[in-house]
Amino acid sequence: MSLPILSDINLDTLTELFNIGIGQAAASLSEMINENVELTVPKVTVMTMEEASRGYTEEDSSKLSAVKQSFEGDFSGKALLIFPENDSLELVRRLLATDVSIEELSELEEDALLEVGNVILNACFYTISDILDCKITGEIPTHTQGSGRQLMTEGGIETDSIVLQLSMDFSIPNHNVHGAISFLMSMNALQKLIGLLDQYVARLSV
């Protein structure tokens, strides 16, 4: 399957958009936990689901933890904020100042992780729809665990989906968490996004 090529300028634009979005998310989180939270998206890439899930396996053979939120509208798909399990736990520990293992993660603590993911993902959605002037509806987020493949494929996602992969650094004082945001969408949806980006770039260059 040949991947649609995102032009450099489109990639740059997307990276910038995401940086704005999660910059706002960082501000929200900092306010929520009264600590300085910094989020950066250094790289945006497009890859097949196969490549994406393989990437996770190589990177971390242990389980992954993800906040998943479906989106619909001008283009639809699923967005996943993925952390290696230990990093997600570290986040919860930092946020809630507790010490738990993944098995002991309570409903309320899981809620906290869910909210963090929700804040970040919503910020991304908001920025894209706001700046690209399109419509994206976000569903209520859920939390799941599993291998990269499990996370990618569960919930009826087409295996030929394209992955818009954002590697992400999440830093709280004295600790860095490395994660990623995967936007899983159909080729069709991606084409729509590219169209929107082209329009946006065109508008800017007028």
């Binding site: 919503n122 994206i136 509806t137």
Partner: protein, 725 residues
């Protein structure tokens, strides 16, 4: 906008009713951020009635301020149709909501909230924001509780791990053997010490049975092991009780002492057992050593008194069953005190060691020699055989101890007095047995030492009579059982009565008149002689004084009183004599003290001094039994003596034995030359009297003229007496 039909209205009413009733907060906000739905739960928890909330913004309803995050998510929902969640962990009290406190210490508590904000669109494409508020107060409380429990469980689990590690380490490192086995005895686990103690080659004990390791169990291979162990007491022991002892069996067949304790153990519905086995070889060894120390005489290494008694008791029990006679021998070294006194205790100790070694050499291995203390030894001859054989063995022991050895340049003569008793089924007890042997040994001593006596019932009788006498002697003085008999003394030439010898008699209430030979030694042994002697002196003086006063006897009448060795040992004797004389108003000239030669010579004090003290009282002094003892001519000259009494043994023989006659002649001559009065006692016939008269003997005493008589008889005799001349 279409008008709703009746059915729709009905549905809406039902929905509204439901919303009013649910235990969650529901707020519906329209595109203008005005509240269009405010359910009953919210009215209750916020204290804001629906009519005061509707058509107002959230900020207007809660002018004191609400968390910005809620407003932001409402914006997201209304503007971008984004759903949001507000977790209670990160935003617990988003709206100021309160509810009644179940614990009643405060009236109300804040409601912890978990909020979902969701965009919703109606049929006319109007956008709304639904805020759904969940009360998670109880959930938080429950989770806190669960977490606490979880932490407790975790700690417990950790503790368990630690304690298991600890137990493991104890099991691995203890010196005791710890074995788990099933009800057939098959060993399931064993610790390293088990392999070491039992010298096992295989690790883990595959196929090994407990019966292979414990001698006591080896014969019960096919029986249920629990019953056997219970019978042997292995399972009934606890920490307070000492564990039962058993014998362990090493893989090389060697047996060794163990202690064992077994505990049943129900694991996964299977009954298992844990045995703790302790190798007590070392402890046994040191116990034996201690026992040896406690039971053996430190000087000679022979058994001591305690062990001797113990062994004797056991032998008695065995003999009662078997009825095979055994013999007990008591051995007392002759004159051992003298060896200690004259040669020193080191020599004495060497003698004791020599005797011990000799005894050990001369007896069989099965026999036992013990030192009971001092110079007293005992030998137990088990199954000693026929009387002849016993006699031979005992004689051999006696022979081996009758010798002379050289110790530290001293030539030491050793001999012993032995008493033996053979016993069989009818034996009473150890103390009776020892008493019998003691009687025999005492008899051996009486028989002049250095001999062996076997116990007989007759010996026992003699001993018992003696014992009885001894017991009653103590009462006899108080009971006035002693009486004085008087034997007159005559002038040979004129046959006039010139005096009398006071002789003590014991009028025993049961045995009648007991002769002096039987009880004087007892008086001396018991120390009663001092009181009895004083009584004799006083009684004789009183009598003499009475007779003088009544003119029954002539003014020159002399009362002779015997004094024993013990009596004259003290300086008080002279004082006593003076006291009695003055009490009885008797002149010293009327009293004479009779002493034997040996009495005088064996005393520890200087005889010179004693005699001088006595002489100073003014009484006469007579040497009794002259000729049988030292008969030293020098002391006759040196000592202040008045009379010599020729011993009865010479007088008896005068007519038959020329030597005796010669001795009598010499004594008479000697006395006359030294100006001493001579008395012959034991004169029993006329011929003897004639001979003595011929030899110019001064005085005589004897049955021929008068036997000893009680005071009354003496008075009658004296009153009626007329010299035959």
């Amino acid at each position: 906008m279409l008008e709703p039909d009746g059915e729709e209205i009905q549905e809406n009413i039902i929905s509204l009713l439901a919303l009013e009733q649910i235990d969650n907060g529901i707020i519906l906000i329209d595109q203008n951020r005005k509240i269009v739905l405010w359910n009953k739960w919210l009215a209750k928890t916020s204290s804001v009635h629906a009519r005061d909330a509707l058509n107002k913004t959230l900020e207007q309803v809660f002018p004191k301020g609400i968390k910005g995050r809620l407003l932001q998510t409402v914006d997201y929902a209304l503007k971008q149709q984004l759903s949001s969640v507000l977790s209670s962990s990160l935003n617990r009290y988003v709206l100021p909501l309160y509810k009644a406190n179940p614990n009643e210490d405060e009236e109300t508590i804040a409601v912890a909230q978990s909020i979902v904000v969701k965009p919703t669109v109606d049929d006319s494409d109007n956008c709304y924001c639904l805020v759904h508020i969940n009360d998670v107060t109880d959930v938080i409380k429950r989770e806190a509780l669960l977490k606490q429990r979880g932490a407790d469980l975790k700690r417990l689990a950790q503790d368990k791990v630690i304690s298991e590690l600890r137990i493991r380490s104890i099991i691995e490192n203890t010196l005791d053997s710890i074995i788990t086995f099933d009800s057939s005895g098959k060993i399931i686990t064993l610790n390293p010490s088990t392999s070491k103690i039992f010298n096992l080659m295989v690790k883990g004990g595959s196929g090994l049975m407990l019966q292979d390791l414990i001698c006591e169990l080896s014969q019960y291979r096919d029986l249920p092991i629990d019953g056997v162990m219970e019978n042997l007491g292995y399972t009934s022991c606890n920490v307070e009780k000492s564990w039962p002892e058993a014998k362990g069996l090493r893989s090389n067949g060697q047996e060794f002492p163990i202690e064992i304790s077994v505990t049943p153990l129900e694991a996964n519905s299977e009954l298992l057992y844990t045995a703790v086995i302790r190798d007590i070889s070392e402890r046994k060894k040191s116990e034996e050593k201690l026992t040896k120390l406690a039971q053996n005489d430190s000087l000679t290494g022979l058994a001591n008194r305690a062990l001797f008694y113990n062994q004797l008791e056991h032998l008695i029990l065995r003999t009662r069953r078997s009825n095979i006679p055994s013999t007990l021998v008591l051995i007392d070294l002759d004159k051992f005190k003298q060896i200690n006194d004259t040669m020193g205790h080191d020599v004495g100790d060497e003698v004791l060691k020599f005797v011990s070694n000799t005894l050990m050499n001369v007896i069989r291995d099965v026999d036992m020699a013990a030192r009971l203390g001092g110079d007293e030894f005992a030998v137990i001859l088990e199954k000693s055989g026929s009387p002849e054989h016993v006699q031979a063995v005992v004689d051999r022991i006696h022979q081996s101890l009758s010798t002379s050895i050289t110790i530290a340049s001293y030539e030491v003569n050793i001999s012993s007095s032995m008493g033996a008793v053979t016993f069989s089924q009818t034996v009473r007890d150890s103390s009776h047995l020892i008493k019998c042997a003691d009687v025999a040994m005492y008899y051996a001593k009486e028989r002049g030492r250095d001999n062996v006596q076997f116990y007989t019932p007759q010996l026992r009788q003699i001993s018992e009579v003696k014992q009885n006498l001894e017991n009653s002697l103590h009462d006899s003085l108080r009971n006035q059982e002693f009486v004085l008999y008087y034997q007159p003394q005559f002038i040979v030439k004129t046959q006039q009565i010139v005096g009398a010898e006071a002789l003590i008699r014991w009028n025993h209430p049961k045995f009648g008149l007991v002769p002096p030979d039987s009880f004087i030694p007892l008086l001396e042994q018991t120390g009663l002689i001092k009181q009895v002697g004083a009584w004799v002196l006083k009684e004789a003086c009183e009598q003499c004084s009475k007779w003088l006063a009544s003119k029954l006897v002539s003014p020159k009448f002399v009362m002779a009183v015997n004094f024993s060795g013990r009596q004259i040992k003290t300086v008080e004797t002279a004082n006593l004599i003076n006291e009695v004389l003055s009490e009885t108003n008797l002149s010293p000239a009327n009293l004479e003290i009779e002493l034997t030669e040996s009495t005088l010579m064996e005393g520890h004090r200087n005889p010179d001094e004693i005699l001088q003290e006595l002489k100073n009282t003014g009484v006469g002094i007579s040497i009794d039994d002259f000729g049988t003892g030292y008969s030293s001519l020098s002391y006759l000259k040196k000592f202040p003596i008045d009379n010599l009494k020729i011993d009865k043994s010479f007088v008896d023989d005068i007519n038959e034995n020329r030597d005796s006659a010669a001795i009598v002649d010499t004594i008479i001559n000697l006395a006359q030359n030294l100006n001493l009065t001579v008395i012959a006692e034991g004169v029993e016939d006329k011929k003897t009297l004639d001979y003595l008269a011929f030899q110019h003997c001064d005085l005589v005493q004897g049955y021929l003229l008068a036997k000893p008589m009680c005071a009354e008889d003496f008075e009658n005799f004296a009153r009626g007496y007329k010299p035959e001349l």
